[in-house]
Symmetry: C2
Subunit: 360 residues, 2 copies
């Protein structure tokens, strides 16, 4: 197979997993599903057989670049691209494309978020390989996940016609991308076999995606080309620092994928989960007979369907409570019903407002 690079997007800020995630230690560094592996480490481990370490790039914020290098000691340190400002995913992919393009313009990039959970890793790797091969032919390719429930928290992809490719079947045109639906539409989507979850995984050749940037986001294209032409690594880093904060802030979904002409999708099912909140963490975790996911030393008296997490050496006692999330850290404790997981940001907002930043 052609040169394949992996670009892992690890720019999360981690509000939804407070108090475990902090400004200095966001979601991707946490073990949310597996016990001894962070989400980022799991993402890198899963592609180890497909992409050698030298061709794995991780884009993260400057603040988190140190922790990222620490968590991935096998990666060449220069493969961690440290964003000097948060500008969403389109600038991040443009930068990575310039990086890859400087080494091999025809190389295929697989762009992967750092934080999904993958239930069936063999099926996942097979799909990555197929999507990369499809991308080698020149189009922009995404992976669409066969929906298993009427999920309103994800975007959807509507399938178009099947495409004849050199890699055989299983590649389709994307008819359109659909924003997060309400529950009624989500139910229709699950019934109708033509809708897939948008996994946020993208596959394209570096030269091809840069052409799309030139067409749809010219300032990002100019930035990428300028970066590629810098003589040395240290000059290139100064170049990024000088310009990054001014780049158009837009997602790769909205800025490129939804606008490009030839976008294809490879459908698949591989136990994909976007671990988006403590609710998902509870869903993924193994549970006792009463539905409690307990990642702590605990004494439970008539407690049901709770998610309990605390540091070693701390005992958590629950009596007669149901459907609670309890996350205890050294200096902060969160308690809420599982269904209120999306309101964690309200605590984070409250703490920001009253300048209690040491807890963020």
């Amino acid at each position: 197979m052609q040169d394949v690079y992996a670009v892992i997007m690890a720019g999360g800020s981690g509000t939804r997993f407070w108090p475990l995630s902090r400004r200095v230690w966001p979601k991707q560094f946490l073990s949310l599903a597996e016990q001894n592996e962070s989400l980022l480490q799991a993402t890198v481990r899963r592609i180890r057989g497909l992409v050698p370490s030298e061709r794995i790039l991780v884009v993260t914020s400057e603040r988190h670049s140190g922790a990222t290098r620490q968590q991935l000691p096998d990666l060449p340190p220069e493969n961690v691209l440290a964003e000097p400002a948060a500008r969403n995913t389109a600038p991040c992919v443009a930068w990575a494309a310039a990086h890859v393009s400087a080494r091999n313009p025809n190389a295929v990039m697989m762009v992967l978020p750092a934080d999904p959970h993958i239930g069936d890793e063999a099926a996942y790797r097979e799909l990555l390989t197929r999507a990369s091969a499809a991308a080698a032919e020149g189009g922009l390719v995404t992976i669409g996940v066969t929906p298993t429930r009427p999920e309103t928290g994800y975007g959807y992809i509507e399938l178009g016609d099947q495409v004849q490719t050199e890699v055989g079947g299983g590649v389709y045109k994307v008819q359109r991308f659909v924003e997060k639906p309400d529950l009624e539409r989500a139910r229709e989507f699950v019934q109708d076999k033509r809708f897939l979850w948008n996994s946020g995984m993208f596959f394209f050749r570096a030269d091809k995606v840069l052409e799309e940037y030139q067409r749809h986001l010219p300032d990002l294209h100019a930035f990428a080309v300028g970066y590629r032409d810098q003589a040395t690594a240290s000059v290139a880093q100064s170049y990024v620092i000088a310009r990054y904060a001014e780049l158009t802030s837009i997602s790769i979904d909205h800025g490129i994928m939804e606008k490009a002409q030839d976008v294809r999708v490879v459908p698949g099912a591989f136990g994909w989960y976007d671990i988006g909140s403590w609710t998902t963490a509870w869903e993924l975790a193994s549970k006792d007979a009463d539905g409690n996911a307990v990642l702590a030393e605990a004494s439970l008296v008539e407690a049901k369907n709770c998610y309990v997490r605390a540091n070693a050496g701390k005992l958590v006692a629950l009596i007669g409570v149901e459907d609670l999330v309890v996350v205890d850290t050294e200096d902060a404790l969160l308690i809420m019903p599982r269904e209120r997981a999306q309101d964690v940001r309200r605590v984070v907002d409250d703490l920001t407002k009253r300048d209690a930043k040491k807890y963020l």
Copy 2:
């Protein structure tokens, strides 16, 4: 007034206030209502004007005698009587009576639990004075609290006829002591003006109560007389250590008060609260507009009627929960609905059973 001694019973084991109360640091050492004063310290402070420090005795377990002396630095250290075993309140009062009797056989003892909360301290002190004066005449006297609600957690006292005494009115015969009633009977008791809460405060002359011990609990009487006859303090302590664990284990209520002939009661209302559980702690604490009693740094989002307590430097965030008790300590965290407060012992039992004693 005649010599009055105060005997404060501070032998609590503290199960109901876990995880704040521990084997080494039970309820009486905690600040549950007032912020900067433990229950024991408050009890001693309230009687300061009535009884000089030299005549205040505190009976506690051997394990807690050090902390007791620390919390009450004004008391002569020998006034803290350290029980070598837990034998309920009758042995404890017998021992204290022997102690008082050795100094002055006619002295009046006021026997007070270490842990009630008193809302109206002036009315309380006036009642203590009146009950002590009534006891000086020779009977066994208790204080009965005018009920304000159909409480099923307390014992009751049924009033008999008023007694003519030298201290004037307000002293009645006790018709009978009534065990904790069910809700229906408790409602009747509140309607019927002849029923009072048993406060567990007792007043009698040392010689008179020892006579009652001789009649009803002869082994405790023999123990007390033997103690009084020891030549030196250190010999007396060895005497106690050799015998205490074998004494009849019974409460002063069942062993003496309910059996004695001439028992009198002084009724009163003084904001008396037996702080028996976290529920009571919530009732007594000052609350915000949503009914939350917050003794912690907190971020509350749509939380109502909760009791929240944590150490300094710990932030507690509650989202969308109601009627919860949340008590966080360095190594243990308790979460339960307020109404489940009586089930704290089930956690304590569980921890005992599985040998997790470091949390007790």
